[in-house]
Amino acid sequence: MRRLTWFNTVSLTIGFAFLYIPMLILIIFSFNESKLVTVWAGFSTKWYGELIRNEAFLDAAWVTLRVAVLSSTVATVLGTMAAYVMVRGGRFFGRTLFSGMIYAPLVMPEVITGLSLLLLFIAIGLDRGIITIVLAHTTFSMCYVSVVVSSRLVSFDRSVEEAALDLGCTPFQAFRLVTLPIILPAVASGWLLAFTLSLDDLVIASFTAGPSATTLPIKIFSSVRLGVSPEINALSTIMIAIVAVGVIVASLMSKNAIARQAREEKAAAQT
């Protein structure tokens, strides 16, 4: 292996320090015995125990998870459909306008999206709760999905779809049997993106959540305003762990896939 020059070593250290020191501090203090967040009083896991007994937090976590799964799934379906029409639909009337409008929520300040959704829900008399959060999250994460999927569709050889039609597929079969399997990785990463966006959204959720349903970010934010408690640190540490595990599993999986492909190719070359 090559050794790093001292300049590279320093840049690497500073970069990682910026990224990870805050989290490291948070993790360390989650194991603090003391109730005072900034004073170290010995190791303890008692705040984790407190957390598990805290109904409000658990409820919020459960709501968050359901909202994230539902909204990212709906957003993926709608976003993929939108991307397909935009990229494949040819030059229908108003196409430029539509594709511009799909991307508008990307640049719209969240406060405005949240407020306008709130007004809409009040206007149509929809009680605020899980449903409204799901609708709101679907609305704004759909455009992210459609950006990811359409970039894949643009680089996709159109003639493969034509071949499917040529061999007797209806346009829908061609999409289901050929296009979708090929763009599936992009669709999956669109889903993952929508899922994480929904997980950590605070602004839009606060506009659209009602008393019956609170998401975890809202819960954390409101308890922090009363003062940072070690319980929050413990909760955040758990979330960091979940995310870290997710990232590691995902990268291992893709690494495995690459290795498997390389193995197959090697085996293929030998026959």
Binding site: E162, D166, Q173, V178, A268
Partner: protein
Amino acid sequence: MSDPAPTSRPDVFAPWNDPNQRPLIQFQNVTKRFGDFTAIDDLTVDIYAREFFALLGPSGCGKTTLMRMLAGFETPTEGYILLDGQDIGPVPPNKRAVNMMFQSYALFPHLTVAENIAFGLKRDNLPKDQIAARVDEMLRLVQLQKFAARKPHQISGGQRQRVALARSLAKAPKLLLLDEPLGALDKKLRTDTQFELMEIQEKTGTTFVIVTHDQEEAMTVASRVAVMDHGKMIQVDTPDRIYETPKSVYVADFIGDVNLVEGVATSHQKDGKVQIHWAEGKEPIIGTPMQPIADGTRCTFAIRPEKVHISKEHPEGKTNIMQGKIIDIAYLGNLSTYHVQIPTGEIFKAQSANTRRIERRKFTWEDNVWLWWSETAGVVLTE
């Protein structure tokens, strides 16, 4: 070079000469524009059932566009395409009894070789064992049995091309469109596959429209060849007529090797031959035009190198004799092409068979030689 296919069949297949035959495909004044670019220009042609119709032409002349219109991926800007007498304009690609092999292969990357070939058969809801049998047959045909379980990215370019070919053949359609089906194959496999295709065609009666850049291939397989340029068909004829009696300088020059001499025609004798005056103080070339041409017409005399004889001695009692010096020899194995420069500077190509071993060859560089050809060997072109 490979042996040419036998050209004389007992019953001559020439439906285009039979006014009672109804064409399978009719292009009627078809024009295709992309924006203001005209890819196909007012094209009218009939293609008959059981034909092996080859499209030949330079890159960008509209061959693929023509195929795509037949397959249903492009609609004519003007004109009609009839299949069996029916306008196929409104018929979507999946409802046409037409299969196409794409120039880019367009294999399904997520399916194995066998699944690729089975794809079209599955759409017809055939029983499983029947599909499997057909896939096996196709794999055997293109010699890819060993590769059935591989994905397209795990095989070579030539193997991919064969998968694409097998996939388009699998459904045994009424009309098969092959866009450069054999370009990536080596010589031997290509000749084998050409004969396979001809056999399939004899057996199943499928009509083939095939694009190729390989003239020898077009000559070998085609019942008729269409030479295209800028969206038009310049000449549509049987391979031998395209080669022997091209109607224009463009076709003569595009197909095979040719010597071209420009000049002015004057009539020669009553037998319809003409003299072509092509250079000051030179003997005119005597040629035989296909149609009578008027005195003083500007024309081009075209003669194939293999019809130009070459010898060391002055040929006695021959017409169209020229003297010159060999400046280059292209050795092709069975043949050699001699580039002979005559005193006025023009270069003529003469080809002869290498019936002797190379060290005992009659001519070499810088040799003074005589060229001659008969009065009927070349063609006189006015277009």
